[in-house]
Amino acid sequence: MRMDDRGWWERGLWAEGLVAALATLSVAWPLTDLLREENWVAPAVTMVVLVALTGAVLRTVDAPPTLVALGQLAVGLAGLTVLYLRDTLWRGFLPTEESLERIATLLQQAGAVLQTYAAPAPTTQGVSFLVVAVLTLTAVSVDSMGVTGRAPASAGIPLVAGFLISVSNTGQAMEPWYFGAVLVLWLVMLAQQGNRLTLAWPSAGRRESHGGDDVSAGPRTYRGLAQGVGALTLVGAVLGAAFLPHLPPTFLGDGLARNPDARDVGGDTGEVSFTETMDPAQDLRNTSQAPVLTYRTNAVSVQPLRVTATERFEDGRWVAPERLTSSLLPQGAPLPDPAGLGEGVPVSESQFQVLDNQLEPPHLAAPSPLTSLQLQGGSYRFDPTDTTVVLQGQAPRYDATYLTLESGAELPDGIGGQPAPASEFDEDVLALDPVSEDRIGELAEQIVGGEDNALRAAVLIQSHLRTDGGYEYSLELAPSAEASADDPIGGFLETRQGYCVQFATAMVMMARHEGIPARMAVGFLPGTTQEDGSRRVIASDAHTWPELWIDGLGWTRFEPTPGIRAGTPPAYARSTDDADADQSSSTVPQELTPTPEPTAAPAPTDPTFLDRLGDLLPTVLRAVLALLLLAAVMTVLPLVGRRHREAGLRSASTPAERIEGQWQLLTRTLTDLGVDEPPARSPRELRQHYTRGTTMDDGGQQALGRATATLERSRYAPPAVLTDDEVQQMGEDVRTVVDEVRHTSDWNQRAGAALVPSSGVAGVREAVRRILRR
């Protein structure tokens, strides 16, 4: 490549490197909102500038692109080491085992901060390290793609990736200028590249030489066009932002907009959706820490907070109950006594005080059964059929009292002994799902056996689901082989994997099969205890459980869901082997909060990072082997392609054959670079073909002209007129043309020509044909 005629500024692409560095920094700008302290900014700017400078200097001295990228990477690593790991270095420059452990510590620290804190998070050393490291990598990739690789369009990918990480970790929508800055800088990168491309065209000088009359070509015309396109893009982006519906911000961990479940989940309000769908799956995935409810209670054992209940199960899912206003008790009417509560059952009344209520009306969360309710603001009605409070208007605070069974007290004999009086219940509470009826029945018979007592039967069912049946708690349902899509219960019983809804539904159905009236209650787990003693309920505390009508107890809560996202089973419903699962309610909440995926960074102390590395070694080895294999496979096509391109040259003996070989090398290499294959025409027409199909400067054009002239003489002139010099000159000219075309074609084409050359495909095809013929 003849680059020496250009100045060092041009050769090093300093201006482009500067813009790329600015674009990388603009990606990090939103982080100023997310992190409390700004102590990461100076190292970040230093690193990005360092990477950009390294790139520019290496390009100025004509280093090959790979070397430029490697150099930038090395400088980036060195910079990070000096900034964050200086005291772990051996003799001040060699990283040690301690350095690796320090990296692990820093990353783990960063992970812990990011998990625990909502924006703005404190900028610990670990967070700062993570941010600067990611930015350095972004700077290297943006610079090597957009500047060294001359493909600023592709450089948009790392930019967008970095930008997404920046903006998608806050619950709030970001200010538009953060996006605007990235967009404008990226457009400038594109414009710089476009301008450089058009300047390289042979027609670039025409406008000047023809005194301004020639408007058909010249970069100025294209510059105008590019400015128009750029302006249109900006307008389009603004209009698009104005007219497209705004989705609530989602987190990277939610899969952003790809996760349909995450879309409805309010990120920052702690809004819940299960009260409409009767399925808390979405809420359970909600990572928002915003409180839905903050309350205090004086109860010894906290109860789940019930919101509503439903009896109707249709088409494989629970349907929210319809409430007729006429059947509701008016505001102010005393709450009726819990139905079916027998004499002699030891109960006590507990206080429940809500300090902050964010749950949308008409829903109200409170333990059950309620005995009194006082609202501050809003009014309520009471539905006695499923003992649900229907709220009207916002009630930011309210007080309630409710009944609990006295803990440790013995239940009187004969509880659950009588079957439920069929006349008192509508048929819904005993209705079975026709699709899963047989399977449910079979299992219920097997579990309950001959047990007549409803309470004991219910405890048997609960134990089966909770501990004995080998069920597994999982938010992801396993695909079921036998059960059809409209039979989620059957599927759950087969795969034994599900979350509260599946457990509760299975218990409801089995109870109904045994003749016990049952319904599905939805609400919240008791939440976590705050430092001030109040409890906080968040969206992912959503929960469902079955309520069974037991003679002598009335509607009674059971807890068939195992695992961390479940309540404690009520004392009356505990079997002996479940006693060890008894967790004091004060310890449960910590586990109830959803714990994000553990970070990859291992603990700094025992086991050490290197120990872990040892465990990982087989996996690493396998991965390295796979990578090596992939690399080997990837080198096959380029090697075959090279052989195919040079086939003519290799078998040539006479000068004429060598010239034909060189020409073949030229045509096949240019075909790899995306130039149309030449037609079988005369050399002069071939020259026209390539002049039209490529962009080359004068040097390239002249080399092509010489090459075609030599080819022409070799083909048509009297024999023995070709000298060795001419053959050598042909080789040089072919190299010049190929270099020139490669220089002006874009990054993708060059990458394609290097990795998956079409000559390689042709070579493989030829080899296969040869083998087949044999």
Partner: protein
């Protein structure tokens, strides 16, 4: 492109170029703006062919023929073809000489270096045949005696495509004898203006003096014969011929003689560019004037008003150029 490597039997191409160039320039003083037609005419002269000029009256067919004849210092004869023209008027006749008591051959109009045959389609087929036979054989046989024709020998016949009544248009097979057919076409506005100005007084033909001699031209013709033609090009010509015979719009393709003449014309074309070897471009440049009058379009092509020149152009575009390997 025109850099030449010395070769043992190097031909004097510069001489060819200068002779052809001076002839071309001389004709151009008479025929305004018809470079292509003039170049083809010169090429045909140097390729030892004969030329058929076909166009409407008054565009300078005869003028071209006369100018070419005048530019070379050689014997020129001109025959105005009429229905009553006899073959012997062309070839010559044996007359009994009372004095010598022997038959004496009186040479006809054809005994010249350049023969201009005006409106060849007005003569009877018999007379036409006499001309065409001597064109091909370059000799005349009368009463068992063979008389060779002088060299160089060029017949330029003109033919008028309109006013066809009472004419005997050349049969297709006969047209094959002409190496090339050109048509003059109307001059463009500028050329016509220039023509009106310069032809106002005396005929520019009067000012035209010979720029070369018959012997010189003959020397160049010999020179051109030595031009190198690569095997790939022969293959190219063969493929072109084959393609013309297979073309779906052609009822009659090109004859083997056409191929032979195409190569000869291509050689002359290359020599005019002072190149010692023939290129595909030379063949392509001569393909239309050489082939268009030899091929016959199908009824379909005639109905679609596809000129044979277009079809030949299409043929050239579609036929691949062999690379010689």
């Amino acid at each position: 492109m025109s850099t030449l490597s010395p070769s043992p039997e190097a031909v004097d191409l510069d001489a060819v170029k200068s002779v052809a160039g001076s002839v071309h320039r001389a004709i151009a003083t008479v025929i305004e703006g018809k470079d292509e037609a003039v170049a083809t005419a010169v090429t045909v002269l140097l390729a030892e062919g004969h030329l058929l000029v076909e166009d409407v009256p008054g565009v300078g067919k005869t003028m071209l023929a006369k100018a070419l004849a005048r530019a070379i210092d050689c014997r020129v004869s001109r025959v105005q073809f009429t229905p009553d023209l006899l073959p012997s008027d062309i070839t010559g006749v044996s007359v009994y000489n009372q004095d010598t008591r022997a038959f004496e051959f009186r040479r006809g109009a054809i005994f010249a270096n350049v023969v201009v045959g005006d409106e060849i389609n007005r003569a009877s087929p018999k007379t036409q045949s006499a001309l065409l036979e001597s064109m091909e054989e370059r000799q005349v046989t009368v009463d068992g005696q063979t008389y060779p024709l002088p060299r160089p020998f060029l017949v330029m016949a003109t033919q008028n495509p309109i006013e066809m009544e009472g004419t005997y248009p050349l049969p297709e097979a006969q047209r094959d004898r002409f190496m090339a057919r050109i048509s003059m076409g109307y001059p463009n506005a500028a050329s016509e203006m220039a023509m009106l100005e310069s032809h106002g007084g005396v005929s520019p033909l009067d000012d035209l003096s010979p720029v070369t001699t018959a012997a010189d031209v003959q020397q160049q013709i010999e020179n051109i014969r030595g031009l190198h033609i690569a095997p790939a090009l022969r293959q190219y010509v063969v493929e072109l011929m084959a393609a013309s015979r297979a073309h779906r719009l052609l009822r009659l393709g090109a004859s083997p003689r056409a191929g032979l003449q195409l190569l000869r014309a291509a050689r002359a074309h290359a020599a005019l560019a002072a190149r010692d070897h023939v290129l595909p471009e030379d063949v392509q440049a001569m393909a239309v004037p050489l082939l268009a009058h030899r091929v016959l379009p199908t009824g379909e092509a005639s109905l679609a008003h596809r000129a044979t020149a277009d079809i030949v152009r299409d043929l050239v575009e579609r036929t691949t150029v062999p690379s010689g390997r």
